[in-house]
Symmetry: C2
Subunit: 123 residues, 2 copies
């Protein structure tokens, strides 16, 4: 059943980083929230999935092979399917992700942070 | 090509109401921004599409046949496919919508506000 999701309250419920939590599902897509801190995401790509990063706190650099993008709070960017990328927060960042339910966390690349599955955040 | 989208700046670019503008596309879904003011949305449903309402300014009441939901800024709610609903802002509200690209604005119901197509917001 659908419920009201308050984004700030979501982030009050967890402190771990690089561990996206599902907070909504629609049309085969998940809405996830995640905290990032440190340069830990490997270069990777998602062959069939576009991925949206919406910054709600802090600053996030998104690196693609041919350009660097900087997102501040209140800004989003969509990494196109097939585009190699990594993301690096400046300090601590709070992010909303939109991506297909079946997406692999770090594509075919396995790293220290890689999650095999994602849990719903208890709201 | 993807670009950085600043939500506040999107809303500085238009003042008309009930006219969603596309600001992003991913996985067959559109991200749209819309201003709402007044009780103008008819009861309607989308047979095959879930629809997400994310409030960034103001207050939005979402009415379903068996419950009323109130969203404040920073909160979202997903109306499930097949569920009859209408939305009514209290005063003026600024909303982000996530919904499939092919969705009909007010389902099969035609109203004064109904749009046949949606344009990209020039950023």
């Amino acid at each position: 059943m659908s419920k009201v999701v308050n984004i700030e309250r979501c982030f009050e419920k967890f402190n771990d980083t690089f561990s996206p939590k599902i907070v909504g599902e629609l049309n085969g897509q998940y809405v996830k929230v995640v905290r990032l801190e440190g340069d830990k995401v490997p270069w990777h790509l998602h062959e069939n999935e576009d991925e949206m990063f919406f910054v709600v706190g802090g600053i996030l650099d998104i690196l693609e092979k041919d350009k660097n993008i900087t997102l501040n709070a209140g800004e989003f960017y969509i990494v196109q399917k097939g585009v190699e990328h990594k993301v690096v927060p400046r300090g601590h960042a709070k992010i909303i992700l939109f991506e297909p339910a079946g997406i692999e966390h770090t594509g075919k690349v396995k790293a220290e942070i890689t999650k095999e599955s994602f849990d719903w955040l208890e709201l």
